[in-house]
């Protein structure tokens, strides 16, 4: 049992998936040849000026609303001055004391259903840096790095939280659910691997029961949730070690090396940063009209937390169903469309179970497949009406995936409709007669053998038998029940 309690806040950079950059009309791209999406503005040629992308503002406000932030009636841009080759103007246009989104709160839910309430300090708009690639001695001479400005100027929203998180796993739970929310808003691709979502963590520890804050370090550049969690844990352990040895944690930027599990300091020999923020004279304030903000509030989709609560509370799903089905906005939409037409719980079972399992074989997603939500609802109805058995329904599903036809058409084509009872009774009578040994075992009380008859019956009827009816008829034929 540790005597220390971690105190964690996070800063998340989210690249907005707009059509164009933050301050110029260059198209956003990923993976295109270097320097093919640039213009005088994003190359910072002499004399150019920035103009704010309206869609980036819209998305920043959507994010703010989803995080319960106050939307500033009037916000301004600042210049953050520092020299770096990936920053062509040698200043980043960002926001400083009057960000577009002020205080808010985000509620994440742990696996056990308990809540993690995280205060949002702010969310602001800024521009991304370009891509700097270190050649690592690949080329002789002085050049060691190259810059590609395609990414330079991509709109970013930076979300900063209060130091409200108390464990690495809570931090990751929060970040996963925040990411899910951003995906539902449709504002960003939120890919950690591709860098369209990046998280830094501010970590400090303090004696349990204390309310002050220890010296924090900034854990930078984590490109997966897994590494982030491990990194925070490693940093907590490192800080505990320092304090136990009577040392002091120094305020610095640290890096986690996944290969070794080590924390390294990124402290540079350079002068401490002095960003010399001042209001950007080339841009005028953004003062979102309250009517517009109201409209955007109306446009907010139902977000994962609310959705999961509704799925469990009103639709009869389990917490696990809800978790799986809110994995992506597409899956939610697919499920909701089906659930509007047939029993939600049955739809949930079929979508998250058999449908996804079968589609995984062919490498596609439900909403991209030939099976529509209406097809799923119709299949659920056929099952409910006893028209098809469960095994037959799985075959119907396979048929639908292949042909895109309605389930009843597949049932028809494949002859999968459940047999009526008198036809089935004849099949069972013949089976019992042909398998006297198994019949005797059943009479001797070896109940398990019933499975043998069910299997045989399904085989002979091409799955058109209802397994429960088979069991009942076998017992009747053998035991005279």
């Amino acid at each position: 049992m540790s005597d220390f309690e971690p105190v964690i806040g996070v800063e998340i950079h989210v690249q907005l998936s707009t059509h164009t950059k933050m301050f110029c009309g260059c198209a956003l791209s990923f993976g295109d040849p270097p320097n093919t999406h640039t213009c005088p503005v994003c190359l910072a040629h002499p004399g150019v000026l920035p103009v704010v992308n309206e869609e980036a503002v819209r998305r920043a406000i959507l994010i703010g609303l989803a995080l319960g932030c106050e939307i500033a009636p009037r916000s301004i841009f600042h210049r953050k001055n520092y020299f770096y080759p990936d920053l062509p103007k040698a200043y980043q246009v960002s926001q400083f004391d009057i960000p577009i989104c002020g205080r808010g709160e985000f509620v994440a839910v742990r696996d056990d259903g308990s809540e993690i309430r995280v205060g949002i300090t702010r969310a602001h708009l800024e521009e991304d840096a370009a891509k700097l690639t270190h050649l690592g001695g690949r080329r002789a001479g002085a050049e060691e790095s190259v810059v590609d400005f395609n990414r330079g100027g991509t709109p970013l929203v930076e979300i900063v939280t209060e130091p409200d998180l108390r464990s690495a796993s809570d931090a990751v739970t929060f970040l996963r659910q925040l990411r899910q929310t951003l995906l539902f808003l449709g504002v960003s691709d939120c890919s950690m691997e591709e860098g369209s979502m990046r998280a830094d963590a501010n970590v400090s520890i303090r004696p349990v029961g204390s309310h002050g804050f220890g010296t924090k370090t900034e854990l930078k550049n984590m490109n997966s949730f897994r590494f982030l969690e491990r990194g925070i844990e490693a940093e907590i352990t490192r800080q505990e070690g320092i304090l136990r040895d009577g040392g002091r944690v120094s305020q610095e930027t640290v890096h986690y090396e996944p290969e070794t599990g080590h924390i390294t300091s990124l402290r540079s020999k350079e002068e401490s940063h002095d960003y010399r923020y001042f209001p950007e004279p080339d841009l005028v304030p953004v003062a979102p009209d309250p009517g517009w903000v109201g409209e955007l509030r109306g446009e907010l989709p139902e977000l994962p937390l609310a959705l999961r609560r509704r799925m469990v509370g009103e639709m009869g799903l389990t917490a696990e169903d809800a978790e799986v089905l809110t994995e992506s906005p597409e899956l939610v939409a697919y499920f909701m469309d089906a659930a509007a037409l047939a029993d939600p719980k049955a739809c949930a079972n079929w979508i998250r179970g058999e449908l996804r399992a079968q589609l995984r074989e062919v490498g596609t997603e439900p909403w991209e497949s030939r099976v529509s939500p209406a097809h799923i609802a119709a299949l659920v109805d056929l099952l409910g009406a006893g028209t098809v058995s469960v095994p037959a329904a799985k075959e119907v599903l396979a048929g639908m995936i292949e042909t895109g036809e309605q389930p009843d058409a597949v049932v028809e084509a494949k002859g999968l409709a459940q047999m009526d009872e008198s036809d089935l009774a004849a099949v069972i009578d013949a089976l019992v007669e042909a398998n006297p040994d198994q019949a005797q075992q059943l009479r001797d009380g070896k109940d398990k053998v019933i499975g043998f008859f069910v299997g045989q019956a399904m085989k002979q009827t091409n799955g058109r038998a209802d397994p429960q009816a088979v069991q009942r008829l076998v017992r009747a034929a053998v035991l005279g029940d």
Partner: protein, 479 residues
């Protein structure tokens, strides 16, 4: 009369009457540009200009600016024409785009002959801070033309072009216009797009015209104003810039700024300005004294705000995307050597001053306070304009000073803009027109008005111009 002696309006009339062609005009002016006795030009685009002239001469209908030649301050980006902003940092730099205001003038039929000399990155009041050459005052080749748009002013006074473009941050159009005996105007902040103007101090920079007559200045202005989607701080100019016709000042109330008529203003300058105030009264104006108590602290305010913005604006010159870095084997050295070597002393001084004013621990004391002082200055102008239509003052406290006279004392050089700076801080329009001579050198009268009062200013200046009948021809100018 030589073609070079015609004003732009006269050249347009001659073109319309079929008495000359654009090619003739271009050739006549190019000859003077080539000779360049005042060293006004940094780059000349003779072939391009002639080609454009032929194109325009072949058009069925002449565009509004008809094919009349113009010179452009080297602070404005011109596609494929070397643009240096007077700095070695941009030696040989060929822009990939053209500034909006130049685009608009070219679309209206103006023909760019070349780029004019200037103080490096527009920082200076004598054009001596150019990395390339000194420009000489056409009235006296031993003296400065003023700055920073000294090349543009001298080229118009020297009749190498009938008109030109400059940029004005704290007086860089008005002061050289004054020193060269021509008309120069700084419009309302936001009236002309800054897109393509190599930034010095973004919240102050404005493009504007030089000409030998108020009418020509109005014509040029008219084709540049208006919102540009590439400049977030540009505005739709309300209405249209009209060609001024006023011949009197009946009913016009003119305020004379007390603080700008006192100590530091040369007697000859004060005498010429006072004489022109008398002329204004004769034209029907009411002349009253006005006080702008914060005007004199304008200079200090300006020398915090402008360097602060410049320190950030000039940070992009790092020798990576363009320019000529001093090679070093690591980035920090390359940055520092390149910038230390290729920026001139005044630019470095202002970058240092601005970096200091924004640095942590000093921001509130300097930049923060300067911005609040700016508010006071804005308020004082607003108050003044509740009582008067125009404010009058000298444009420059002195006439053109000898080359080398002030280069050793930065603050003495800064004093050259003491009368023009307050107007810049308030973002207001102002025009400088020649109002007489002192010791044989031109004196400028500055008229300033409220935002978007360009037509009022042009009209008043036109009336004064008519009454004064100042001869803009420098003595000894050969054409």
């Amino acid at each position: 009369m030589a073609l070079r002696d015609l004003t732009a309006a006269q050249q347009l009339a001659a073109l319309a009457a079929g008495e000359t062609t654009s090619l003739e005009l271009v050739d006549a002016h190019l000859a003077a540009v080539d000779a360049d006795p005042v060293q006004a030009f940094l780059a000349v685009d003779a072939d391009g200009a002639r080609a454009r002239a032929r194109e325009i001469d072949a058009l069925p209908e002449r565009p509004p600016l008809g094919g009349v030649p113009i010179a452009i301050k080297d602070a404005l980006s011109t596609r494929d024409i070397v643009t240096t902003s007077g700095s070695r940092m941009l030696e040989g730099f060929r822009p990939v785009y053209t500034a909006t205001c130049v685009d608009r003038l070219e679309a209206a039929g103006a023909i760019v002959l070349g780029k004019t000399n200037m103080d490096e990155f527009a920082m200076g009041s004598s054009t001596e801070n150019s990395a390339y050459q000194n420009t000489l005052n056409p009235w006296d080749h031993e003296r400065v033309p003023g700055g920073s748009s000294g090349g543009s002013a001298a080229s118009v006074a020297e009749r190498q072009v009938p008109w030109s473009l400059g940029s004005d941050t704290g007086g860089s159009i008005r002061q050289p216009a004054s020193l060269c005996g021509i008309v120069g105007m700084k419009p309302t902040y936001g009236a002309i797009s800054r897109y393509g103007l190599i930034a010095f101090a973004s919240s102050l920079d404005q493009v504007g015209p030089f000409a030998r007559t108020v009418e020509d200045a109005a014509l040029l202005l008219r084709h540049m104003v208006g919102r540009d989607p590439m400049d977030s701080t540009s505005l739709d100019w309300p209405g249209e810039i009209t060609v001024p016709t006023a011949t009197d000042l009946a009913g016009v109330r003119v305020g004379v700024v007390d603080e700008l008529m006192g100590e530091g203003v040369e007697p000859g300058v004060r005498a010429a300005v006072e004489a022109s105030l008398g002329v204004m009264e004769d034209l029907g104006a009411t002349v009253v004294p006005v006080s702008l108590p914060s005007a004199l602290s304008g200079l200090a305010t300006y020398y915090v705000i402008a360097p602060a913005e410049c320190s950030s604006n000039l940070a992009r010159f790092d020798g990576i995307r363009y320019g000529h870095p001093i090679p070093a084997d690591n980035l920090l050295d390359q940055y520092e050597l390149t910038r230390g070597e290729l920026f001139g002393p005044e630019v470095k001084r202002r970058i240092m001053l601005g970096t200091f004013a924004l640095a942590s621990g000093y921001y509130d004391q300097y930049y923060g306070r300067a911005q609040r002082l700016r508010t006071l200055i804005v308020r004082e102008f607003a108050e003044a304009f509740s009582g008067v239509d125009l404010l009058a003052s000298p444009t420059s406290p002195t006439v053109a000073f000898p080359l080398g006279d002030r280069t050793a004392d930065p603050y003495a050089m800064y004093m050259a803009d003491v009368c023009t700076i307050p107007v810049s801080l308030a973002g207001l329009p102002a025009i400088s027109l020649p109002c007489g001579l002192a010791d044989g050198l031109p004196v400028g009268l500055q008229l300033a008005g409220p935002a978007f009062s360009e037509n009022r200013l042009l009209d008043a200046a036109h009336a004064v111009e008519g009454a004064l009948a100042f001869d803009t021809r420098p003595p000894g100018l050969m054409t």
